[in-house]
């Protein structure tokens, strides 16, 4: 009997220790300015959605942004069984947040007509997802753990598509049970290390560690994204310890954070280029020499020094170094040459016609100061730029050239980590600027031939040609690689990724 009591006491103690151990995982609070409207990647292609993404829903093939390599995700192995068919083996024992098993059938359903719509182009996620999966013809489950992805033609980017943003596969049973696309966006069920427990639009999103996660368990008990629109309040909350990480920090606020014990700055350049599209329908911008002059008049190094304390870089052309084999180091990108800019303006017969530059209030980090500096740089070579602050994107886009709009602001994320997902996506025939007649991209389109070839050298040659055409046509001017800065508590070891994702998985977050 005595041993029985002892056993109970020991068991109770162990239970207490167990509880204490579980509770020792802290909660992580992140102060943000905005929340995702829809948590399924195909519901909203925005950095607020990408930020949360892979913590909840996972890719079949995982892209490790730290090593820039792909590794097994929900699929443990994959191989091309012919030129157009990739076969993947789904990992055994993967649980969805609702307790169901994740199988090959989930992949088929989530890429099928009910969600993406591979076959009929009519799924609720198709409109947003098609820019990423347009080459996919069919997705079929072979048995419980094998799935085949068939493309219309050989696709050199298929692995990039599956391992990149938008390639995350949520769980089908839960999706079908909800049955409504908008409601699903508020309660997405995936297989990631965190599950969604509370969604309060405009207020907070709360995630909780998923105990049955197949991989390394989440290092914190919960993650709460809390909307704190005011920058001063976000920084104050970081300093007082109410928040562990705060987003959207500008360089002029760095010292407030670094001067405080226990807080530091994180983040830096991400896979995104800030640029300004030129509307070539504007009378003054129809001549490409004027557009080239705009680009030659920009001292990008000075701009980066002034706006970001030098904490960014000038891209070498409309490309990212992260493209790996597809990066063209020998390309001659933009340069600062005000004398040549003046000469080109003279040759083109520009006579000071007003060009309107529409912008938003710091939608992009440092947008207002960037615009003001640009206006000065352009004035110095003889441009007459009218700055127009707008309230929203609709106002940027409406009444275009009729109201004299010539220049706007934009940023280009390098999806697929390839030119196809960046300069080609933005300026190609399906891109916004050709669709909305900002410019005639026929020369650019012709140069794109070969970009989808399975042969790397052919692809590189096509890309070199395409970049050269782009620089010459100058449908836009690029500025810098867009940086994204965070304030963070030193209580956590966390590194910002080179995309919008805030990666809180075990291999990127630990508690000091």
């Amino acid at each position: 009997m005595k041993y029985k009591y002892l056993a109970i006491v020991v068991a109770a103690s162990m239970a207490c220790i167990g509880t204490a151990s579980a509770d020792s995982h802290p909660d992580l609070t992140v102060a943000v300015t905005k929340l995702a409207r829809h948590l399924d990647p195909m519901g909203q292609n925005a950095n607020v959605n990408e930020r949360v993404g892979e913590n909840i829903v996972e890719n079949l093939i995982r892209y490790n942004w730290k090593t820039a390599t792909v590794q097994p995700g929900l699929a443990t192995e994959w191989k091309m069984i012919n030129d157009t068919t990739l076969e993947l083996k789904i990992r055994d024992g993967v649980k969805c947040h609702d307790g169901t098993d994740f199988t090959a059938e989930d992949v088929e359903i989530m890429f099928g007509p009910k969600r993406y719509g591979t076959e009929d182009a009519n799924g609720p996620g198709y409109a947003i997802g098609k820019a990423f999966f347009s080459t996919i013809k069919e997705v079929k489950a072979i048995d419980g753990n094998k799935v085949q992805i068939v493309t219309n033609e050989p696709d050199p980017l298929l692995i990039n598509r599956l391992s990149g943003w938008m390639g995350q596969v949520p769980c089908a049973d839960a999706y079908l049970a909800v049955g409504d696309w908008d409601k699903w966006g508020q309660q997405v069920v995936g297989t990631g290390p965190y599950k969604v427990v509370s969604v309060k639009p405009g207020e907070s999103h709360s995630l909780e560690a998923f105990d049955a996660y197949w991989g390394a368990k989440a290092p914190v008990k919960s993650v709460t994204f809390k909307v704190v629109p005011e920058t001063a309040a976000r920084i104050a909350g970081l300093i007082t310890g109410e928040f562990d990480i705060v987003t959207e920090i500008q360089p002029d606020q760095f010292s407030t954070i670094t001067d405080n014990d226990g807080t530091e700055i994180g983040g830096g350049a991400i896979r995104n280029i800030r640029f300004m599209p030129y509307d070539t329908r504007h009378p003054a911008l129809q001549d490409k020499r004027v557009r080239q002059a705009l680009n030659l008049a920009i001292d990008r190094e000075l701009l980066i020094k002034a706006v970001f304390n030098g904490m960014s870089t000038v891209p070498n052309g409309f490309q990212m170094e992260s493209f790996g084999d597809m990066y063209l180091a020998e390309h001659n990108g933009a340069r600062f040459d005000p004398e040549k800019a003046r000469m080109l303006l003279k040759e083109a017969g520009y006579n000071g016609e007003e060009i309107s530059f529409r912008y938003l209030k710091d939608y992009y980090t440092g947008e207002v100061s960037t615009v003001q500096i640009l206006e000065q740089m352009w004035s110095d070579v003889g441009f007459n730029i009218k700055l127009e602050l707008k309230e929203n994107w609709g106002q940027i886009q409406e009444d275009d050239v009729a109201e004299g709009r010539g220049i706007i602001n934009w940023s280009g994320t390098a999806y697929l980590n390839d030119p196809v997902g960046q300069v080609r996506r933005l300026f190609g025939p399906d891109g916004f600027f050709q669709r909305h007649n900002y410019w005639d991209g026929s020369a650019f389109n012709a140069a794109s031939d070969g970009l989808m070839s399975p042969d790397l050298n052919t692809r590189k040659a096509a890309f070199a040609k395409l970049l050269a055409v782009w620089e010459d046509e100058a449908p836009a001017g690029y500025l810098y690689v867009l940086p994204m800065f965070y304030g963070k508590s030193t209580d956590f070891n966390w590194t910002a990724s080179d995309t919008g994702l805030m990666d809180f998985r075990a291999d990127n977050l630990s508690v000091n």
Partner: protein, 309 residues
Amino acid sequence: MNPVVIAIKILRALITVVLLVTFVFVILRLSGDPAVQMLGLEVSQEALDEFRHRWGLDRPIWEQFLSFFWNILHGDFGQSFIGGRDALAVVLERLPKTLQLMGLTTIFTFGLGIPAGIYASLHRNTFADRTIMGLTVASFSLPNFVVGIILIMVLGVTFRLLPTSGSETALHYIMPVITMATADAAIFARFSRSAMLEVLHAPFMRTARAKGLMWGAAVRRHALPNASIPIVTVGGIYVGRQIAAATITENVFAWPGIGKLLVNSVQLRDLAVVQCIVILVGVTMVITNLLVDLAYGWLDPRTRTGDSK
């Protein structure tokens, strides 16, 4: 008050709300495309068209308006673009937090402002009067967001006495209430002082003193009731506008109320939610003004006939 007069006032109030809602309905649609705000510019035309079609935004604006009005008459305020939730439910979910903030602010505003103004009027041109009026000018001149950020920096960051954002505990209420009540109390202090000074020099006060009333009794029985009429007028407007006035404070302190919801919804052009909030604010204004009108009759018998409407 005459029932006909009351009915006219209610009818006038209803017309005001209808005009307000119409104005907001049109302006919201003319100043930004909800599809672009929700999905971004880069998405395909099909995605934008599908969104507009699904939410009926591709119909002529007059048709949308009629349908919107018809639905409101049937108690349907529409759905939020975010999650397709009932707009009224979204707004009502946030309302308690704003009402709590409003209630506490009103108590402090009236509790500090009116007595301070009366005290200053009764001690006109003394050191106390000048000090109170000086403070009111200072606090009224500071915008809410400046007061809020100063409080965050001093009480939150420097002295670590109070939490800087959110609404979880009683301590979270202190800074937002101080922020809102500071400027508001100043308004009421100044207004109460002027109202009191006006009646203190009125002939009926001399008559009251002449018939032998003590100064304190004359103030209590004659000055205060007469001075209360303009104060009640301003008080009505004040309470009515409080929901909208909380907007800045709620955003500074990340207070999960109607004001923060309004800013977020306007930015996203979440039309049904914005319209619902505007109707709520409009109806509150109208009801408080109606109550003020009715209170006149109680406070001032001369208005009971409705002649002074």
